[in-house]
Amino acid sequence: MEEVELFKNGKRYDGRTVEELRHVKIKAHVLNDADGSAYLEWGNNKIIVGVYGPKECIPRHLASPYGAVVKCIYNMSPFSSLGEHGRSGPSRRSRELSMVIGQVFENVIEREKFPKAAIEIFVDVLQGDGGTRCAAVTAASVALADAGIPMKDMVSAVAVGKVKDTVVIDLDYVEDSQGQADCAIAFANRNKEVLLLQMEGEMSKEDMQKAFELASIAQERLHQLQVEALKEVYMHINEGDAFVDI
Protein backbone atom coordinates (compact mmCIF):
# COMPACT_ATOMS: atom_id res chain seq x y z
CA MET A 1 0.00 0.00 0.00
CA GLU A 2 1.14 3.53 -0.75
CA GLU A 3 2.50 5.32 2.32
CA VAL A 4 0.77 8.55 3.20
CA GLU A 5 1.90 11.33 5.52
CA LEU A 6 -0.34 10.50 8.47
CA PHE A 7 0.22 13.66 10.52
CA LYS A 8 1.47 17.03 9.35
CA ASN A 9 1.11 20.61 10.64
CA GLY A 10 -1.36 19.59 13.35
CA LYS A 11 -3.66 17.83 10.89
CA ARG A 12 -4.19 14.20 9.98
CA TYR A 13 -3.97 12.94 6.40
CA ASP A 14 -7.70 13.43 5.85
CA GLY A 15 -7.68 16.92 7.36
CA ARG A 16 -9.05 16.03 10.80
CA THR A 17 -7.61 17.29 14.07
CA VAL A 18 -6.43 14.83 16.74
CA GLU A 19 -9.73 14.86 18.63
CA GLU A 20 -12.07 15.01 15.64
CA LEU A 21 -14.45 12.15 14.90
CA ARG A 22 -15.39 11.27 11.35
CA HIS A 23 -18.97 12.11 10.37
CA VAL A 24 -21.40 9.89 12.30
CA LYS A 25 -25.05 9.32 11.36
CA ILE A 26 -27.32 7.00 13.33
CA LYS A 27 -30.86 6.00 12.45
CA ALA A 28 -32.94 3.83 14.76
CA HIS A 29 -35.69 1.42 13.68
CA VAL A 30 -34.72 0.80 10.07
CA LEU A 31 -36.04 -2.77 9.70
CA ASN A 32 -39.61 -3.98 9.83
CA ASP A 33 -39.27 -7.59 10.91
CA ALA A 34 -36.48 -7.35 13.50
CA ASP A 35 -37.60 -6.55 17.07
CA GLY A 36 -35.12 -3.68 17.08
CA SER A 37 -32.67 -2.24 14.56
CA ALA A 38 -30.30 0.58 13.74
CA TYR A 39 -28.26 1.79 10.80
CA LEU A 40 -25.03 3.65 11.34
CA GLU A 41 -22.68 5.48 9.02
CA TRP A 42 -19.36 6.41 10.51
CA GLY A 43 -17.01 7.85 7.92
CA ASN A 44 -17.11 5.22 5.21
CA ASN A 45 -18.29 2.51 7.61
CA LYS A 46 -21.84 1.41 6.91
CA ILE A 47 -23.30 -0.92 9.48
CA ILE A 48 -26.69 -2.38 10.10
CA VAL A 49 -27.78 -4.11 13.31
CA GLY A 50 -30.89 -6.19 13.91
CA VAL A 51 -31.98 -7.54 17.31
CA TYR A 52 -34.34 -10.43 18.07
CA GLY A 53 -35.64 -11.58 21.43
CA PRO A 54 -36.01 -12.50 24.10
CA LYS A 55 -36.92 -15.76 22.39
CA GLU A 56 -36.55 -19.46 22.91
CA CYS A 57 -32.88 -20.43 23.21
CA ILE A 58 -31.89 -22.95 20.54
CA PRO A 59 -30.01 -25.25 21.00
CA ARG A 60 -31.58 -25.73 24.40
CA HIS A 61 -28.45 -26.93 26.17
CA LEU A 62 -27.02 -23.41 25.82
CA ALA A 63 -29.92 -21.92 27.79
CA SER A 64 -29.32 -20.75 31.35
CA PRO A 65 -31.88 -20.84 34.16
CA TYR A 66 -30.23 -17.70 35.60
CA GLY A 67 -30.86 -15.41 32.66
CA ALA A 68 -31.00 -14.80 28.96
CA VAL A 69 -28.08 -15.79 26.78
CA VAL A 70 -26.80 -12.95 24.60
CA LYS A 71 -25.72 -14.16 21.17
CA CYS A 72 -23.94 -11.74 18.89
CA ILE A 73 -22.99 -12.43 15.30
CA TYR A 74 -20.66 -9.90 13.69
CA ASN A 75 -20.46 -10.40 9.95
CA MET A 76 -18.43 -8.66 7.25
CA SER A 77 -20.15 -8.67 3.87
CA PRO A 78 -18.01 -10.00 1.00
CA PHE A 79 -18.26 -6.59 -0.71
CA SER A 80 -17.36 -4.51 2.34
CA SER A 81 -13.82 -3.50 1.42
CA LEU A 82 -12.23 -1.51 -1.36
CA GLY A 83 -10.03 -4.54 -2.05
CA GLU A 84 -10.97 -7.94 -3.36
CA HIS A 85 -14.32 -9.64 -3.04
CA GLY A 86 -14.20 -11.53 0.24
CA ARG A 87 -15.60 -14.82 1.42
CA SER A 88 -18.90 -15.05 3.21
CA GLY A 89 -19.23 -16.86 6.50
CA PRO A 90 -17.43 -16.41 9.81
CA SER A 91 -13.68 -15.84 9.92
CA ARG A 92 -11.55 -16.17 13.06
CA ARG A 93 -11.62 -12.38 13.33
CA SER A 94 -15.39 -12.11 13.06
CA ARG A 95 -15.88 -14.88 15.64
CA GLU A 96 -13.67 -13.08 18.12
CA LEU A 97 -15.45 -9.77 17.56
CA SER A 98 -18.83 -11.48 17.93
CA MET A 99 -17.72 -12.71 21.33
CA VAL A 100 -16.35 -9.43 22.68
CA ILE A 101 -19.31 -7.39 21.39
CA GLY A 102 -21.72 -9.93 22.88
CA GLN A 103 -19.99 -9.62 26.26
CA VAL A 104 -20.50 -5.83 26.26
CA PHE A 105 -24.24 -6.35 26.16
CA GLU A 106 -24.21 -9.28 28.58
CA ASN A 107 -23.07 -6.64 31.03
CA VAL A 108 -25.83 -4.07 30.50
CA ILE A 109 -28.86 -6.19 29.56
CA GLU A 110 -31.03 -7.22 32.52
CA ARG A 111 -30.59 -10.86 31.61
CA GLU A 112 -31.96 -12.22 34.88
CA LYS A 113 -35.46 -11.14 33.81
CA PHE A 114 -35.56 -13.74 31.05
CA PRO A 115 -34.29 -17.10 32.28
CA LYS A 116 -33.68 -19.76 29.61
CA ALA A 117 -34.23 -17.26 26.78
CA ALA A 118 -31.89 -15.92 24.10
CA ILE A 119 -31.32 -12.40 22.83
CA GLU A 120 -29.74 -12.21 19.39
CA ILE A 121 -27.72 -9.30 18.02
CA PHE A 122 -26.87 -9.48 14.32
CA VAL A 123 -24.27 -7.01 13.10
CA ASP A 124 -23.65 -6.69 9.38
CA VAL A 125 -20.83 -4.57 8.05
CA LEU A 126 -21.92 -3.47 4.58
CA GLN A 127 -18.85 -1.33 4.18
CA GLY A 128 -15.83 -1.23 6.48
CA ASP A 129 -13.21 1.49 6.84
CA GLY A 130 -11.61 0.93 10.24
CA GLY A 131 -13.31 1.02 13.63
CA THR A 132 -16.14 -1.34 12.73
CA ARG A 133 -16.26 -3.04 16.14
CA CYS A 134 -16.77 0.35 17.82
CA ALA A 135 -19.38 1.30 15.28
CA ALA A 136 -21.07 -2.06 15.86
CA VAL A 137 -21.28 -1.55 19.64
CA THR A 138 -22.64 1.99 19.21
CA ALA A 139 -25.29 0.85 16.73
CA ALA A 140 -26.21 -2.31 18.66
CA SER A 141 -26.95 -0.28 21.78
CA VAL A 142 -29.49 1.76 19.79
CA ALA A 143 -31.00 -1.38 18.23
CA LEU A 144 -31.42 -2.99 21.68
CA ALA A 145 -33.15 0.13 23.01
CA ASP A 146 -35.38 0.07 19.93
CA ALA A 147 -36.24 -3.56 20.72
CA GLY A 148 -37.23 -2.59 24.26
CA ILE A 149 -34.78 -5.03 25.80
CA PRO A 150 -34.20 -3.77 29.35
CA MET A 151 -30.71 -2.37 29.86
CA LYS A 152 -29.08 -0.82 32.89
CA ASP A 153 -27.32 1.62 30.60
CA MET A 154 -26.50 2.62 27.04
CA VAL A 155 -23.06 1.85 25.60
CA SER A 156 -20.97 3.53 22.93
CA ALA A 157 -17.49 2.82 21.67
CA VAL A 158 -14.67 4.55 19.86
CA ALA A 159 -11.13 3.71 18.79
CA VAL A 160 -8.11 5.73 19.84
CA GLY A 161 -4.59 5.19 18.63
CA LYS A 162 -1.26 6.59 17.72
CA VAL A 163 -0.03 7.81 14.36
CA LYS A 164 3.34 9.51 13.83
CA ASP A 165 3.87 9.68 17.62
CA THR A 166 0.59 11.49 18.09
CA VAL A 167 -2.42 10.17 19.98
CA VAL A 168 -5.54 10.55 17.82
CA ILE A 169 -9.18 9.53 18.02
CA ASP A 170 -11.19 7.37 15.62
CA LEU A 171 -8.63 5.86 13.26
CA ASP A 172 -9.80 4.95 9.79
CA TYR A 173 -8.47 1.98 7.84
CA VAL A 174 -5.37 3.77 6.52
CA GLU A 175 -4.42 5.17 9.94
CA ASP A 176 -5.10 1.83 11.58
CA SER A 177 -2.97 -0.15 9.14
CA GLN A 178 -0.08 2.33 8.89
CA GLY A 179 -0.17 3.82 12.39
CA GLN A 180 1.62 2.75 15.54
CA ALA A 181 -1.28 1.66 17.73
CA ASP A 182 -5.03 1.15 17.77
CA CYS A 183 -7.23 0.71 20.83
CA ALA A 184 -10.98 0.10 20.83
CA ILE A 185 -12.81 1.23 23.98
CA ALA A 186 -16.49 0.85 24.88
CA PHE A 187 -17.90 2.82 27.83
CA ALA A 188 -21.12 2.45 29.74
CA ASN A 189 -22.63 5.89 29.49
CA ARG A 190 -23.59 6.48 33.13
CA ASN A 191 -20.64 5.29 35.16
CA LYS A 192 -18.06 5.24 32.36
CA GLU A 193 -17.08 1.66 33.15
CA VAL A 194 -14.99 0.09 30.38
CA LEU A 195 -16.88 -2.78 28.73
CA LEU A 196 -14.71 -3.51 25.70
CA LEU A 197 -11.00 -2.95 25.43
CA GLN A 198 -8.76 -4.27 22.69
CA MET A 199 -5.42 -2.70 21.88
CA GLU A 200 -2.59 -3.53 19.56
CA GLY A 201 0.58 -1.62 18.79
CA GLU A 202 2.79 0.32 21.15
CA MET A 203 1.81 3.12 23.51
CA SER A 204 3.26 4.60 26.71
CA LYS A 205 1.25 5.02 29.90
CA GLU A 206 1.01 8.75 29.15
CA ASP A 207 -0.26 7.95 25.63
CA MET A 208 -2.87 5.70 27.20
CA GLN A 209 -4.00 8.43 29.58
CA LYS A 210 -4.34 10.85 26.67
CA ALA A 211 -6.20 8.16 24.72
CA PHE A 212 -8.75 7.71 27.50
CA GLU A 213 -9.17 11.47 27.76
CA LEU A 214 -9.97 11.74 24.05
CA ALA A 215 -12.21 8.69 24.14
CA SER A 216 -14.24 10.05 27.08
CA ILE A 217 -14.99 13.27 25.23
CA ALA A 218 -15.97 11.36 22.08
CA GLN A 219 -18.16 9.04 24.11
CA GLU A 220 -20.31 11.96 25.30
CA ARG A 221 -20.79 13.04 21.70
CA LEU A 222 -21.65 9.51 20.53
CA HIS A 223 -24.17 9.09 23.34
CA GLN A 224 -25.80 12.35 22.28
CA LEU A 225 -26.11 11.02 18.71
CA GLN A 226 -27.66 7.80 20.02
CA VAL A 227 -30.19 9.78 22.04
CA GLU A 228 -31.09 11.92 19.04
CA ALA A 229 -31.54 8.86 16.83
CA LEU A 230 -33.94 7.27 19.34
CA LYS A 231 -35.78 10.55 19.90
CA GLU A 232 -36.20 10.99 16.16
CA VAL A 233 -38.15 7.76 15.98
CA TYR A 234 -40.29 8.04 19.06
CA MET A 235 -41.01 11.70 19.64
CA HIS A 236 -42.63 11.96 16.25
CA ILE A 237 -45.65 9.92 15.34
CA ASN A 238 -44.17 7.10 13.40
CA GLU A 239 -46.25 6.23 10.36
CA GLY A 240 -45.26 4.16 7.37
CA ASP A 241 -42.69 1.42 6.99
CA ALA A 242 -39.23 1.40 8.46
CA PHE A 243 -36.42 1.72 5.94
CA VAL A 244 -32.64 1.75 5.75
CA ASP A 245 -31.58 5.26 4.80
CA ILE A 246 -28.24 4.61 3.08
Binding site: P115, A117, K152
Partner: protein, 199 residues
Protein backbone atom coordinates in the same frame (compact mmCIF):
# COMPACT_ATOMS: atom_id res chain seq x y z
CA UNK B 1 -44.92 20.80 30.37
CA UNK B 2 -43.23 18.92 27.58
CA UNK B 3 -42.46 15.27 28.21
CA UNK B 4 -38.85 14.47 28.84
CA UNK B 5 -37.42 11.54 26.88
CA UNK B 6 -35.86 8.83 29.00
CA UNK B 7 -33.13 6.44 27.83
CA UNK B 8 -32.00 3.15 29.31
CA UNK B 9 -29.73 4.29 32.13
CA UNK B 10 -31.42 7.66 32.78
CA UNK B 11 -31.97 8.30 36.50
CA UNK B 12 -35.66 8.58 37.29
CA UNK B 13 -35.58 8.77 41.11
CA UNK B 14 -32.98 9.36 43.82
CA UNK B 15 -34.52 6.61 45.90
CA UNK B 16 -35.10 2.93 45.22
CA UNK B 17 -38.44 2.31 43.48
CA UNK B 18 -39.94 -0.99 42.43
CA UNK B 19 -40.85 -0.37 38.80
CA UNK B 20 -41.40 -2.79 35.91
CA UNK B 21 -39.04 -0.77 33.77
CA UNK B 22 -36.67 0.40 36.48
CA UNK B 23 -33.28 -0.71 37.74
CA UNK B 24 -32.05 0.06 41.27
CA UNK B 25 -28.38 0.68 41.87
CA UNK B 26 -26.81 2.41 44.90
CA UNK B 27 -30.24 3.37 46.27
CA UNK B 28 -31.18 5.17 43.05
CA UNK B 29 -33.58 4.14 40.31
CA UNK B 30 -32.76 4.21 36.62
CA UNK B 31 -34.90 3.49 33.59
CA UNK B 32 -34.11 0.32 31.65
CA UNK B 33 -36.09 1.28 28.56
CA UNK B 34 -36.83 4.14 26.24
CA UNK B 35 -39.70 6.13 27.69
CA UNK B 36 -41.23 9.45 28.58
CA UNK B 37 -41.25 11.19 31.92
CA UNK B 38 -44.65 12.74 32.48
CA UNK B 39 -45.44 14.22 35.92
CA UNK B 40 -42.85 12.02 37.63
CA UNK B 41 -44.22 8.89 35.98
CA UNK B 42 -42.27 6.72 33.54
CA UNK B 43 -44.28 5.90 30.43
CA UNK B 44 -42.43 3.16 28.55
CA UNK B 45 -42.33 3.56 24.76
CA UNK B 46 -40.66 0.20 24.34
CA UNK B 47 -40.48 -2.89 26.50
CA UNK B 48 -40.84 -6.62 26.74
CA UNK B 49 -43.88 -8.27 28.31
CA UNK B 50 -43.12 -9.88 31.66
CA UNK B 51 -45.96 -12.14 32.78
CA UNK B 52 -47.39 -11.51 36.26
CA UNK B 53 -49.91 -13.42 38.31
CA UNK B 54 -53.42 -12.26 37.44
CA UNK B 55 -52.64 -10.98 33.92
CA UNK B 56 -55.15 -11.85 31.23
CA UNK B 57 -53.45 -13.05 28.05
CA UNK B 58 -54.33 -14.37 24.61
CA UNK B 59 -52.57 -17.42 23.25
CA UNK B 60 -52.78 -20.22 20.73
CA UNK B 61 -52.74 -23.95 21.47
CA UNK B 62 -49.43 -25.10 20.02
CA UNK B 63 -49.22 -28.61 21.40
CA UNK B 64 -51.62 -31.10 22.88
CA UNK B 65 -49.87 -32.94 25.73
CA UNK B 66 -50.73 -35.81 28.04
CA UNK B 67 -51.79 -33.66 30.98
CA UNK B 68 -52.69 -30.40 29.27
CA UNK B 69 -51.80 -27.98 26.52
CA UNK B 70 -48.85 -25.82 25.49
CA UNK B 71 -49.94 -22.27 24.70
CA UNK B 72 -47.89 -20.02 22.41
CA UNK B 73 -48.18 -16.43 23.63
CA UNK B 74 -44.99 -14.83 22.27
CA UNK B 75 -43.05 -15.30 25.49
CA UNK B 76 -39.69 -17.12 25.09
CA UNK B 77 -41.33 -20.36 26.20
CA UNK B 78 -44.89 -21.59 25.81
CA UNK B 79 -47.28 -21.39 28.75
CA UNK B 80 -49.15 -24.43 30.03
CA UNK B 81 -52.83 -25.11 30.77
CA UNK B 82 -53.31 -28.19 32.92
CA UNK B 83 -56.28 -30.39 32.01
CA UNK B 84 -57.80 -29.88 35.44
CA UNK B 85 -58.30 -26.16 34.68
CA UNK B 86 -60.55 -27.00 31.72
CA UNK B 87 -64.07 -28.20 31.29
CA UNK B 88 -63.67 -29.12 27.62
CA UNK B 89 -60.89 -30.35 25.39
CA UNK B 90 -58.89 -27.90 23.26
CA UNK B 91 -57.65 -28.35 19.72
CA UNK B 92 -54.32 -27.52 18.15
CA UNK B 93 -54.51 -23.97 16.72
CA UNK B 94 -57.41 -22.81 18.91
CA UNK B 95 -57.19 -19.30 20.33
CA UNK B 96 -57.78 -18.83 24.05
CA UNK B 97 -58.19 -15.97 26.51
CA UNK B 98 -56.85 -16.97 29.91
CA UNK B 99 -55.51 -15.81 33.26
CA UNK B 100 -51.93 -16.27 34.47
CA UNK B 101 -52.29 -18.46 37.58
CA UNK B 102 -48.64 -19.03 38.38
CA UNK B 103 -45.21 -17.83 37.29
CA UNK B 104 -42.21 -19.68 38.70
CA UNK B 105 -38.67 -18.38 39.18
CA UNK B 106 -37.52 -19.57 35.77
CA UNK B 107 -40.38 -17.92 33.94
CA UNK B 108 -42.63 -20.96 33.42
CA UNK B 109 -46.31 -20.07 33.27
CA UNK B 110 -49.49 -21.87 34.23
CA UNK B 111 -52.78 -20.58 32.90
CA UNK B 112 -56.40 -20.97 34.03
CA UNK B 113 -59.92 -19.51 33.63
CA UNK B 114 -59.75 -20.41 29.96
CA UNK B 115 -62.22 -19.06 27.43
CA UNK B 116 -62.02 -20.29 23.84
CA UNK B 117 -62.29 -17.58 21.18
CA UNK B 118 -63.86 -18.69 17.91
CA UNK B 119 -64.26 -16.93 14.54
CA UNK B 120 -61.95 -13.99 14.69
CA UNK B 121 -58.41 -12.94 14.13
CA UNK B 122 -55.42 -11.95 16.22
CA UNK B 123 -53.40 -8.82 15.72
CA UNK B 124 -50.08 -8.19 17.40
CA UNK B 125 -49.54 -5.00 19.38
CA UNK B 126 -46.40 -3.98 21.33
CA UNK B 127 -47.11 -5.03 24.93
CA UNK B 128 -46.25 -1.58 26.34
CA UNK B 129 -49.08 -0.06 24.30
CA UNK B 130 -51.73 -2.42 25.67
CA UNK B 131 -52.74 -0.09 28.56
CA UNK B 132 -53.62 2.60 26.00
CA UNK B 133 -55.64 0.13 23.92
CA UNK B 134 -57.65 -0.70 27.06
CA UNK B 135 -57.86 2.90 28.29
CA UNK B 136 -58.66 4.18 31.77
CA UNK B 137 -61.41 2.01 33.27
CA UNK B 138 -61.74 0.20 29.92
CA UNK B 139 -62.88 3.44 28.26
CA UNK B 140 -60.96 3.02 25.02
CA UNK B 141 -61.78 -0.60 24.35
CA UNK B 142 -65.44 -0.01 25.20
CA UNK B 143 -65.49 2.86 22.70
CA UNK B 144 -64.09 0.63 19.94
CA UNK B 145 -66.45 -2.23 20.79
CA UNK B 146 -69.49 0.03 20.71
CA UNK B 147 -68.44 1.79 17.48
CA UNK B 148 -67.70 -1.41 15.56
CA UNK B 149 -70.07 -4.02 17.09
CA UNK B 150 -67.06 -6.31 17.34
CA UNK B 151 -66.30 -8.57 20.21
CA UNK B 152 -62.73 -7.70 21.27
CA UNK B 153 -60.43 -9.35 23.79
CA UNK B 154 -57.14 -7.78 24.83
CA UNK B 155 -54.24 -9.87 26.13
CA UNK B 156 -51.53 -8.19 28.18
CA UNK B 157 -48.95 -10.17 26.20
CA UNK B 158 -49.65 -7.98 23.17
CA UNK B 159 -52.25 -10.04 21.33
CA UNK B 160 -55.65 -8.54 20.56
CA UNK B 161 -58.45 -10.78 19.31
CA UNK B 162 -61.22 -9.30 17.15
CA UNK B 163 -64.36 -11.15 16.11
CA UNK B 164 -65.28 -11.57 12.45
CA UNK B 165 -68.72 -10.29 13.39
CA UNK B 166 -68.95 -6.49 13.21
CA UNK B 167 -66.78 -3.95 11.42
CA UNK B 168 -63.52 -5.75 12.18
CA UNK B 169 -61.53 -3.80 9.58
CA UNK B 170 -62.36 -0.54 11.39
CA UNK B 171 -61.58 -2.07 14.77
CA UNK B 172 -58.17 -3.18 13.49
CA UNK B 173 -57.30 0.20 11.99
CA UNK B 174 -58.46 1.96 15.17
CA UNK B 175 -56.18 -0.22 17.29
CA UNK B 176 -53.25 0.37 14.91
CA UNK B 177 -53.88 4.12 15.22
CA UNK B 178 -53.82 3.91 19.01
CA UNK B 179 -50.51 2.05 18.83
CA UNK B 180 -48.97 4.72 16.61
CA UNK B 181 -50.20 7.59 18.73
CA UNK B 182 -50.09 5.92 22.14
CA UNK B 183 -47.76 8.48 23.67
CA UNK B 184 -49.77 11.54 22.64
CA UNK B 185 -52.31 13.23 24.89
CA UNK B 186 -56.03 13.61 24.24
CA UNK B 187 -56.11 10.22 22.57
CA UNK B 188 -59.64 9.26 23.66
CA UNK B 189 -61.11 12.38 22.03
CA UNK B 190 -59.11 11.76 18.88
CA UNK B 191 -60.34 8.19 18.69
CA UNK B 192 -63.94 9.20 19.29
CA UNK B 193 -63.66 11.57 16.32
CA UNK B 194 -61.90 8.94 14.17
CA UNK B 195 -64.47 6.25 14.82
CA UNK B 196 -67.38 8.63 14.25
CA UNK B 197 -65.97 9.83 10.92
CA UNK B 198 -65.12 6.34 9.69
CA UNK B 199 -68.47 4.81 10.48
Amino acid sequence: MEDEIIMPGTQIADKPLRLSYGHVENEKTYSTVLGLKREDKLIPLKGIYEPRFGDYIIGVVSEVKFSGYDIEMKTPYPAFVPDRMLREKLDHGEVIFAKVMNVNEIGELDLGQVKVLKKGRIIEVPAVKIPRVIGRDNSMITLIRESTDCSIFVGKNGFVWISEKGNSALAISAIRKIVREAHTSGLTDKMQEYLKNSN
